[in-house]
């Protein structure tokens, strides 16, 4: 039984998104590219829905079969992009676009997200038991690490965060225990906490307690602690290695007012737009921040600020509700999938969307650093619209192959 409510929610989100893209193009400056954005977005939407329909007719087995070539292709394209890529939007200095002869063909990172989801799903679904030790996790970790390194080299912090979301989300769904997840994440946590020696020290004590309690292999335990210490020491050195714009983005995230004219400008103007929208907004098409081009990248990265300014808290709530319904629906699909692979694919796609939504929307209110990742179904951009709807197509297929009821799923079923 295909999950039509999911398709309907995706349609509603797309319609909402295109309406906002249209509004975002209506500025006093009357920039032709922005004004025509909604038309191109409509065309892409049609293409995307058609593609999703085609994909929903293909068996999940086809996806499983295509996993390895897709993953290989993604890695190759990421490598090519690293050499020939070009930037766009708030992430203009990020080489994320594959460009040939000046024509931007798309962002290989979109393909890489799906490829990583498929690859992780295959690796995790192949196991009888969920991984119980760090050693057992090396394969999935490597599968994520390779594209992650390539993406971070662009350097695209946002997509890097998406990969991490996918990775931990799928490990969780595969049944990896909480302490193990925490241990896996610990070096990264050390990296962040290293900026305050005191907090980092406290974290190290907590970590040692978890290690003693969880009792991994001794080697693993030692490696973990060493890794955390190394990260803590390496953090300041890595910080120095970041390019100035990345440093300033992170610093501005902590305090936008310290650089109100440059990097901080985006966040401040976005906050002003949203805050000034009030409960009911300034009215569709009537956002003054948007109209006067005070909002940066208002058709793409900061499109949610337009929602906030013109439609107010009610419009924001509506969008958040739609996303919540979408996510719950995807969890439902994952829970009722016919087999482990399908279930993990569904949950991996959820992880990807979830990070996009939280990071993008959080960014407009300075709850997240500016990373330039788009908002699913809203942000203007053909390849991303296509990617979102291909995911919908996959989810529809998984739901239609699924068993209807969650508890009907056979125990330890593989395939």
């Amino acid at each position: 039984m295909a999950d039509y409510p999911l398709a309907i929610i995706a349609l509603l989100l797309s319609a909402y998104g295109i309406a906002v893209v249209y509004s975002a193009g209506q500025t006093d400056a009357r920039i032709a590219a922005d004004m025509g954005a909604y038309q191109r977005q409509l065309i892409w939407f049609a293409v995307a829905v058609a593609s999703a329909f085609v994909l929903s007719r293909l068996s999940v087995r086809f996806l499983e079969w295509v996993t390895t070539p897709a993953y290989a292709l993604a890695v190759v394209l990421l490598l090519v992009t690293l050499v020939f890529g070009s930037g766009a939007g708030t992430a203009a200095s990020v080489k994320g676009w594959l460009t040939i002869g000046g024509v931007r063909l798309g962002q290989p990172a979109e393909l890489a997200k799906v490829a990583v989801v498929l690859m992780l799903a295959r690796m995790l679904a192949a196991r009888r038991e969920p991984p119980k030790s760090l050693l057992e996790l090396w394969q999935p970790a490597a599968a994520v690490l390779l594209p992650w390194v390539l993406v971070m080299a662009q350097p695209d912090l946002g997509t890097g965060m998406v990969f991490i979301g996918i990775f931990f989300g799928m490990l969780f769904w595969a049944g990896v225990s909480w302490p193990l997840l925490l241990l896996v994440a610990s070096p990264a946590i050390s990296l962040v906490l290293a900026f305050s020696t005191g907090i980092w020290g406290a974290w190290l004590l907590v970590l040692i307690a978890v290690v003693l309690w969880y009792k991994p292999y001794v080697v693993e335990g030692v490696v973990l602690i060493v890794a955390n210490v190394v990260m803590g020491v390496a953090a300041p050195i890595l910080w120095e290695k970041l390019s100035p714009y990345q440093q300033s983005r992170l610093l501005v995230f902590l305090d936008p007012s310290q650089d109100p004219k440059r990097t901080g400008y985006h966040v401040i103007q976005s906050q002003i737009a949203i805050g000034s929208g009030g409960l009911t907004g300034k009215g569709y098409l009537d956002g003054t921040q948007k109209r006067g081009a005070f909002l940066p990248e208002q058709t793409t990265d900061f499109i949610f600020a337009v929602v906030g300014e013109e439609l107010g808290f009610l419009g924001v709530s509506l969008a958040l509700m739609l996303f919540l319904f979408l996510f719950l629906r995807v969890i439902r699909v994952a829970a009722r999938a016919n087999d482990g692979f399908s279930s993990l694919v569904a949950f991996g796609l959820l992880g990807s969307w979830f990070v996009h939504v939280i990071v993008n929307i959080g960014m407009t209110l300075n709850l997240m650093p500016i990373t330039g990742i788009p908002l699913p179904f809203f942000s203007y951009g053909g390849s991303f619209m296509l990617a979102c709807w291909l995911a919908v197509g996959i989810l529809i297929r998984i739901s239609s192959e699924g068993r209807g009821e969650a508890d009907a799923l056979p125990i330890g079923l593989r395939r």
Binding site: R127, I272, A273, G275, S276, T288, L324, I331, V357, A406
Partner: protein, 590 residues
């Protein structure tokens, strides 16, 4: 892989809960920004979008005593530019300079003004010509941040004729902005820079209004006359002066620009300044909206005649024989002489004092004259002896009480303080103790020596002679007339002095040619020694002799002899009494 239904259900619930909590937290953050703190953001958004464009207030109109207009406002245009940063302003100005004439200096000035107040439109042309405005309108599309608006422009219908007391207006200067006096003023505002405009700035300026224009992130004007209600400017209060514009214009026309002179006409009874002129003059209208550099150079290049130097109140000159009335008054006050007193030595063309022979202006001499005749004929020999009789210390003290060392107190900025020694100690200081002779007394008694007076201050002194010994403080604007008793003479003594001055303007005196038919003019000539150059001519007089209504003081630079100045004063007074009656005009305001 563990897909036990219970596990799946549990994880599904955990995942669903986590997702709901995350989105819930986002919603909370939005609630805080959009509902709880919306007011603060709304203000920021308005500040972003709206720029206040100041609407200058019309300055108050300045009227003369009959309601004729001395200073008014005519429609003008100001051109300014809104800009988000000084760099973008500079870029726009560079582009503008190909359309309207803008020098690098102009651009630097505008940018400097902008830096001081970046939220106000930077004024480029305070007084744009119609041609400039129409050219700019054609290029409007290329300069979306350009604000062209009508602004009242100061205009003096009689320009050069009134410049000596009106002063002019101009944009406030950087150092004035920092001063306490101009607190609350903003860059680019028009203020009174000289004369009445400066003196009565507070009354004349009015209150600036504003309107709001909507701009985009690059500072381009996207909507003019935005939705907020405009705050209309409040025009300044009008100013009614004592000036008699007809008389003022008569004086200016009569003098023209060829002579160098200072003239003041005043009502001795109240101190009302009827006219105040300095020749040659300048056109204050050309100063409005920025003085054209070539005009400024031209005015300052004339270092001999100095048009910008006010001869009526800034220039100080030896009062010469016009001062003899002071000497006479001091002597009469102390009862040293009466009008029939003669001096021991008659005038044979001079007076031997010490080792020096002090000459009278008339080499032929005046013979044995009394005080009345000595005044009429301006006999130096008589006054040398009178000075010696008074003694130096009493002469100096008398001058002090006649306020020879004080400003007249006119309500105009820039009046010079006259030069008068307050006591003999002064000469000890200047020349060294004992290094000066009593010859100073002789010099002072005939208005030479250490004595320099403004035309204005001599006018005040004569207002006391013209009345009952009270000197009137000159007032351009009628506020509260102040009359101060400066000489302690009986009415008979004052009448005697006036009668002697009447003789000056008669066949018996030095200025017989200045007599006016039907009006009894009284006054005193003066010829001030001017080193190697031609002497300055003075005349201070009043009419009618017995009940004076007008005092006129004239200082004609290098006029050679007092009667040249007397002729001017005579023309002025004759015009004053003989012109047709002036119909009062309708005065708007006060």
């Amino acid at each position: 892989m563990s897909f036990h239904p219970n596990d799946i259900q549990r994880r599904g619930r955990v995942a669903g809960g986590a997702v709901a909590v995350a989105l819930g937290l986002l919603a909370t953050a939005f609630f805080r920004a959009q509902v709880l703190n919306t007011e603060q953001y709304r203000l920021s958004s308005e500040r972003n979008r709206l720029r206040e464009v100041p609407l200058p207030a019309a300055r108050g109109v300045i009227y003369d005593r009959h309601g004729a207009i001395i200073a008014e406002n005519v429609p003008g245009y100001s051109v300014s530019l809104l800009s988000p940063s000084s760099d973008s302003l500079r870029a726009s100005l560079q582009r503008l300079s190909s359309i309207i004439q803008l020098s690098e200096d102009d651009i630097a000035r505008v940018v400097q003004r902008f830096r001081r107040e970046p939220n106000r439109p930077a004024v480029i042309l305070a007084d744009a010509s119609f041609d400039q405005v129409s050219v700019l309108e054609e290029h409007r599309v290329e300069f979306p941040s350009l604000i062209i608006q009508s602004a009242p422009k100061r205009f003096y219908p009689d320009g050069p004729a009134v410049a000596a007391f009106t002063g002019w207006t101009g944009q406030i200067r950087e150092n004035d902005l920092n001063s306490e006096e101009f607190k609350g003023y903003k860059m680019g505002q028009e203020i009174g820079l000289q004369g009445l405009e400066r003196q009565y700035e507070k009354e004349l300026r009015g209150k600036e209004g504003s309107r709001f224009v909507e701009v985009d992130a690059r500072g381009r004007v996207v909507r003019d006359g935005a939705d907020r209600a405009d705050d209309p400017p409040v025009p300044g209060k009008s100013l009614k002066t004592n000036i008699d514009l007809d008389l003022q214009k008569f004086i200016a026309d009569y003098l023209g620009d060829s002579v160098v002179a200072g003239v003041v006409a005043m009502d001795p009874r109240s101190g009302a300044v009827l006219a105040l002129h300095s020749s040659p003059s300048f056109d204050p209208n050309r100063f409005i909206g920025g003085i054209p550099p070539e005009y400024w150079r031209e005015l300052n290049a004339d270092t001999v005649r100095r048009p910008m130097y006010n001869k009526a109140m800034q220039g100080k000159y030896p009062p010469a024989s016009t001062f003899k009335l002071a000497t006479a008054a001091i002597a009469l006050q102390d009862s040293l002489v009466d009008f029939t007193t003669t001096m021991p030595r008659p005038c044979n063309g001079g007076y031997q004092y010490g080792s020096r022979y002090w000459r009278c202006w008339s080499a032929a001499g005046h013979g044995n004259v009394d005080l009345t005749q000595a005044i009429a004929k301006s006999c130096d020999t008589y006054f040398y002896q009178l000075g010696l009789r008074i003694t130096l210390s009493r002469l100096l003290a008398g001058g002090v009480s006649l306020k020879m060392g004080e400003k007249s107190g006119i309500d105009l900025p820039g009046e010079a303080t006259p030069v008068w020694a307050t006591g003999a100690a002064y000469f000890d200081k200047v020349f060294g103790k004992g290094n000066w002779s009593n010859g100073q007394t002789l010099n002072l008694s005939i208005g030479q020596g250490y004595n320099s007076q403004t035309v204005l201050n001599m006018t005040r002194f004569y207002s006391a002679l013209a009345t009952d010994g009270h000197a009137a403080r000159p007032e351009v604007v009628a506020r509260d007339p102040i009359r101060t008793k400066i000489m302690n003479l009986t009415p008979a003594q004052l009448a005697g002095l006036r009668s002697a001055m009447g003789d000056v303007v008669s066949g018996r005196g030095t200025a017989g040619s200045a007599a006016i038919e039907g009006v009894q003019l009284a006054g005193k000539t003066g010829t001030a020694q001017n080193e190697t150059k031609k002497d300055h001519a003075w005349f201070v007089g009043f009419a009618p002799q017995e009940k004076p209504e007008i005092v006129v003081a004239v200082m004609l630079w290098q006029g050679e002899h007092g009667y040249a100045a007397a002729r001017i004063a005579s023309k002025v007074i004759a015009h004053y009494f003989k012109r047709p009656a002036i119909e009062p005009a309708n005065v708007v305001g006060n």
